[in-house]
Amino acid sequence: MASTRTSLFETPDWTELIGSRALTKRRKEAEKRSLQTGLPSFEEELWRYTPIDELEPSSYKVDSPGGAITDVGLTKGLDEQAAAIIHIVNGQIVSISTIDEAVSVHSEGTELENAIGSVVAPSLDFFADSNLAYCATPILVEVAANAVITSPILIRHHTTVENLAWFPRVMIHAGENSQSTIVEHQSSSDVDALVCPVNEIKVGQAGRLNYLTVQEHGPSVWQIATQVAEADRDAHVSLSQVALGGAYARARIDAKMTGQGSSSEISAVYFGRQNATHDFRTFQKHEAPHSNSNLLFKGAVDDESRAIYTGLIRIEPAAGDVNAYQTNRTLKLSDKAWAESVPNLEIENNDVKCSHASAVGPIDEEQKFYIESRGVPADIAEALVVKGFFADVLKGLPSSMVSDAIDIRIEQLLALDMGRS
């Protein structure tokens, strides 16, 4: 692929990216914006505490070489029960299979192009614009109105190429009064790569969508993700994140309650090891009355890892009779680990119930003492307390199979032998 000098990245030949002339034009505009915007600085509030100044885009090559999935990790076994399976590897669609007729997947065409950017506004940030410019394989998943899909729709994004930069983009349109679950799995082999996914979600009136993102990248991968969801009237969206890998793994998650009576549940489990940094920026935006949102993020930082959480609840003037809650708790499992938690509220309406709570600290000594007092050795007691700390979030994940797999992975991370055969 030929290189251009219009980007901070080493970029591909435009003709190899899909899309109409109109989309290509939007791509070029996005690239121009990203170049003008430039990389963010850790001095900006939204990038505070991050290692963003260490990112050198020119060390990555934007490409879509394709490949094969080498490990399905935490989503192993989910294929057998999936309503649809989409595999995208190193920027190329490897396979799309739809088992349930109520699910349609678009990888080209007007519907797809119209969906791109319909939820994530232009100029959101450098990485979202770069995604619009360079996303090689955007997909749109539509769930038909009134459909109830009990099996999960499984999307795997896998990275195996050294120094690759790529930009997965998934749009979800959950139809009116539909019910569905999507499991998106971001994984990689142990390569140095940059992955910048964008996820645009629309849930139609009275629809219910569960969206679980499982991130288990290798220890050298940088992931900078953007997820924005809009819930229409009386719709419900559940956004869950599980983050276990990556060198710097960031997810910006916006839940917008645009329709009256809409609601969202936003949750995350994260576990940092070695030198990893987990970074979450959340935004619960209430634009309509009678809307609810509830956020619960729980994490642990071990070794010399770091975790950052900043969250904002914003209640617009028109949004009365609103309940909005935000809780972040991070356990520090080692003296050298570090975490910061900054919750924020902006309330423009008096008829609201809002609360936020955040805590960073060691494990609860009373809980550890209780378990030890039964005769459980100190290291096991501590591991049990940590495992138990995550239980409520894991219990709420939309796939019990994935939830169980994550539970087992956490036991492994804690060297806890539960005697599973």
């Binding site: 000594e365 009373e366 809980q367 003492f369 209780y370 378990i371 030890e372 007092s373 039964r374 005769g375 459980v376 050795p377 100190a378 096991i380 007691a381 049990l384 307390v385 495992k387 138990g388 700390f389 995550f390 239980a391 409520d392 539960m418 005697g419």
Partner: protein
């Protein structure tokens, strides 16, 4: 025969000295009750015995069958044969009773014990609903259910010595009777009990062999079961008011000599403290 020996035990929390030379000796099958006003150091005694972080032993010794417990971590004390029924059992979200006891028994080489079956068996005996066993430790349990749960755990683990830190607080009479009668049955099989309580009611179902009065971090009087009834009827004023007298024995708070004099005034006591 197992013996928990507490000699001249001094315990501080932070820079505050709470216990000032406590002597107790509890043998298999015995029930010793420790009673005292609020703030006298009863819970400190139970926490210090179990090695809770923050409770520093400043003097004396704590031994189980001659083994020094003071240098052991909490879990090793439990493995050695102690069990603490907590006054306010801590909620531990996401951790089940079963897995906790399985790890404890595995450490003792008893992996083969079917913990769930044993828990169900014990729950039945003390009137604890089976489904409550599936909940996380002490989460969403009433006060009574927590104490029944503690008792069931104790019975499954089968310690040599149980320390009951106000087992009776917050319990209705049915739960109290169920827990106490189960413990009484265990004492007949050799369990030694140190029972910390404010009220005689518990001792109606779990009769004490010896009753000790703890005031200001010291045992100021020891006696038979009748002492508990007297305390419930008259309170602790004769111990807390330094001008009062009792049965011709002057009780003062402060030095070991006075404590020894009180203990020495009970020559008929078969469980007399050897230091007295």
């Amino acid at each position: 025969m197992t013996v928990l020996s507490i000699r001249n035990l001094g315990v501080a929390v932070g820079d505050q000295q709470i216990l000032n030379g406590v002597d107790l000796e509890i043998s298999s099958g015995q029930v010793h009750a420790v009673m005292g006003p609020n703030g006298s150091g009863k819970s400190t005694l139970s926490n210090a015995i179990m090695g809770k972080p923050g409770y520093q032993i400043t003097s004396g010794s704590l031994e189980l069958d001659g083994q020094d417990l003071s240098s052991l971590p909490t879990w090793a004390r439990a493995q050695a044969g102690l069990f603490l029924v907590m006054q306010y059992p801590t909620e531990v979200p996401g951790v089940s009773v079963r897995e906790t006891l399985e790890f404890a028994l595995k450490e003792r080489g008893l992996e083969e014990v079917d913990v769930q079956s044993r828990l169900i068996e014990e729950a039945k005996q003390i009137g604890l609903q089976n489904e409550l066993l599936d909940r996380a430790l002490n989460v969403d349990l009433s006060g009574g259910e927590k104490k029944r749960n503690e008792t069931a755990q104790l019975a499954v683990l089968g310690p040599q010595i149980a320390v009951l830190d106000e087992l009776d607080s917050g319990l209705d009479i049915d739960a109290l009777r169920a827990c106490a009668e189960r413990l009484e049955a265990m004492t007949e099989e050799g369990l030694g009990v140190l029972c910390i309580t404010h009220y005689h009611r518990l001792l109606d179902y779990l009769p004490a062999d010896r009753v000790h009065v703890l005031v200001n971090g010291q045992i100021v009087e020891s006696g038979g079961p009748e002492l508990a009834r007297e305390l419930e009827a008259n309170g602790y004023s004769r111990f807390t008011d330094s001008d009062s007298e009792s049965d011709g024995v002057s009780v003062a708070i402060g030095g070991r000599s006075e404590i020894n004099r009180v203990l020495a005034a009970e020559p008929e006591d078969p469980f007399a403290d050897p230091l007295a």
